[in-house]
């Protein structure tokens, strides 16, 4: 498979099509417009559907409908628009309807800035809507990873009958890089996913109450509502054991460990390489799933060596740092290197912060 030069947003869109996504609804917002624009051209080529919704809320509701009909479905937006989608995402989570959505995140709160930021971490990982549901949240650090994660996200969504979020900062979304796209599913494979594996799809099953499809985003009975919550909680717990992913880079002998995700991690990795070349024992933990949070990677650190952890985020106040604090506990001090407002993390700042830590722990 040849590598081609592609923008992050377009790679996400093409990967979705290759994964068998045949329904997309979205609403314009910067910096993710390339996703709906690309799919408005691409979907008709594969017999799929593109709808420009009248709002973020309508778009995610359309996706809730299409996904309930068994179709691999997707929406995307950026931070303020993602907030609006929380209603539909919560319905999908409650009714156990699989769908994928991408947040090409920008500055916040409010309308914020249209430039890249990582201000939506807590919303993405803790409460993407009402009702205490959880989702697997992937954080790509390259266009290649954005493509691969989007492709896999549909499998995870179907496996769990749950929404999956691609939390992609505006840098990765708008960056152009060479990418090897995942394999295109055949139309037979796409049809099989829709028709044979989803007997619960709401498309018409006759008039027998026992065998009809019933997409229920809530329960009249407090008993069954609690049962649904308990089933969901067991699913979320299984992710923490089995599905947390992180890149651990040169952490075995590290005295300073940087932790960062998305574009911040990419900048941080460069800093690790620079300092390693100078003989400094520094490493990086890059959460690939920001939810479930890869606690195991922090458990594997040798705290007899680790003198400090540096949390690097394009968010003020620091957000992922809350999870890092929980994972590290009192085993090492946690410092931060932060920027926000649409400013992209500079390698010079991370380098200075890391060097300062080596001075402090000397």
């Amino acid at each position: 498979m040849a590598r081609i030069f592609m923008k992050g947003c377009e790679a996400i869109a093409e990967s979705a099509v290759r994964a068998g996504c045949r329904f997309f609804a979205g609403y314009p917002i910067t910096p993710q417009n390339e996703i709906p624009e690309y799919l408005s051209r691409r979907m008709p080529e594969v017999g799929g559907v593109f709808v420009q919704g009248e709002s973020e809320i309508a778009s995610v509701s359309m996706v809730y409908g299409a996904a309930s009909a068994g179709c691999r479905s997707m929406t995307s937006s950026s931070s303020p628009g993602i907030a609006l989608k929380s209603e539909g995402v919560s319905y999908c989570a409650s009714a156990r309807v699989p769908m994928v959505y991408a947040n090409i995140s920008r500055g916040g709160p409010g309308v914020g800035s249209i430039q890249p930021a990582q201000m939506d971490y807590l919303q993405a990982t803790k409460a993407s809507g009402n009702g205490g549901f959880e989702m697997m949240v992937f954080a790509p650090a390259s266009v290649q990873e954005a493509a691969d994660m989007t492709y896999k996200a549909f499998d995870y969504a179907d496996r769990d009958r749950n929404p999956v979020l691609i939390l992609c900062d505006g840098v990765i979304g708008t960056l152009m890089e060479p990418v090897e796209l995942p394999e295109m599913k055949t139309s037979e494979e796409v049809a099989a996913i829709k028709n044979s594996k989803k007997p619960w799809s709401c498309i018409g099953h006759g008039s027998d109450y026992a065998t009809r499809a019933w997409i229920q985003p809530g329960q009249w009975s407090t008993v069954t509502q609690q049962q649904e919550n308990e089933k969901a909680a067991a699913l979320y717990e299984s992710w923490r054991k089995n599905d947390a992913r992180a890149e651990e880079y040169l952490t075995e002998d590290a005295e300073v460990v940087i932790t960062a995700y998305g574009i911040s991690a990419r900048v941080s990795k460069t800093v690790v390489d620079i300092l390693r070349a100078r003989g400094k024992k520094i490493g990086l933990i890059r959460p690939i799933t920001v939810h479930p949070f890869p606690v195991q990677s922090f458990e594997r650190l040798d705290y007899s060596r680790v003198k400090a952890v540096l949390d690097v985020e394009m968010a003020i106040p620091a957000l992922m740092a809350q999870d890092v604090e929980k994972a590290v506990g009192d085993r090492a001090p946690i410092h931060t290197c932060l920027c926000s407002g649409g400013n992209i993390m500079k390698k010079e700042r991370v380098l200075a912060a890391a060097e300062k830590l080596f001075e402090l722990v000397k």
Partner: protein
């Protein structure tokens, strides 16, 4: 002896609906069930239920259904219909759902000419939440959030969704009916059948607005509520075909 009438298969045989005395929700869903049965459509029917008393149907009806977020029924129906075009997709929504919180979704689906059918049940009030003012509440009518009655100065005027949608080019069929008399109930059934037939023929957006009652929240008995429909509701919401593209 020949059996000439039986309960529609669209309603569960083993459950008695829990709607209030005099409520017309059960009548309307019975009509829908009869139409689906007569048109042999249960194998293709997907009902998108709105929030509120509409949602109570989920456990009384016997065929595929999905509960939409409040007001989003037309968007959810858009998603199902576009991705599963062979399904017969219809929404079942109240006035708060269709005309207040869902106004954007309703207007936009109609404007796109989505090939779906809308059953819009208008009783001029929020039922399940306890009688709050709706966009269709009549002038002077008391509601739990308009204790002195609806006034033009504070609340504006009742919204006429059929007439509003009739400003759009795309909709195929718009009719307002009621279930206040046996004749009107039969007309409602015919209108529902027409809305479904339009969808089968790919004609696009069809809506049947059904003027009904809410005796509990109107503070009336069932007969009083019927009189109120005759005297007040139908004066504000006149019955008839507002648009039928087939008639040009």
């Amino acid at each position: 002896m020949e059996k000439i009438y039986s309960r529609t298969k669209g309603l569960r045989a083993d459950v008695v609906g829990g709607f209030c005395p005099g409520c017309m929700h059960s009548t309307v869903m019975k009509l829908i069930g009869e139409v689906l049965e007569e048109m042999n459509l249960f194998e293709r029917a997907a009902c998108v239920l709105g929030i509120g008393c509409c949602g109570l149907h989920m456990d009384y009806m016997s065929f595929d259904n999905i509960t939409s977020p409040h007001g989003r029924a037309c968007a959810v129906a858009t998603g199902i219909k576009r991705s599963s075009p062979d399904s017969l997709v219809f929404t079942y929504q109240g006035d708060g759902d269709f005309a207040a919180i869902g106004l954007g979704e309703s207007m936009s689906a109609a404007n796109r000419g989505e090939n779906i059918s809308v059953i819009f049940v208008n009783n001029g009030i929020y039922g399940m939440t306890g009688g709050q003012m709706a966009p269709t509440t009549l002038m002077g009518m008391r509601a739990s959030t308009a204790p002195a009655g609806r006034t033009a100065k504070e609340h504006g005027y009742p919204m006429h969704m059929c007439e509003i949608l009739n400003q759009l080019t795309a909709p195929a069929y718009i009719e307002r009916t009621s279930c206040n008399t046996p004749q009107n109930t039969l007309k409602t059934k015919k209108a529902i059948a027409k809305a479904f037939q339009n969808q089968l023929e790919g004609k696009g957006f069809s809506m049947v607005e059904i003027v009904t009652s809410c005796p509990t929240n109107w503070g009336m008995d069932a007969l009083g509520a019927l009189e109120y429909i005759n005297e007040k509701m139908l004066a504000e919401f006149p019955l008839g075909v507002i648009r039928d593209a087939r008639e040009g």
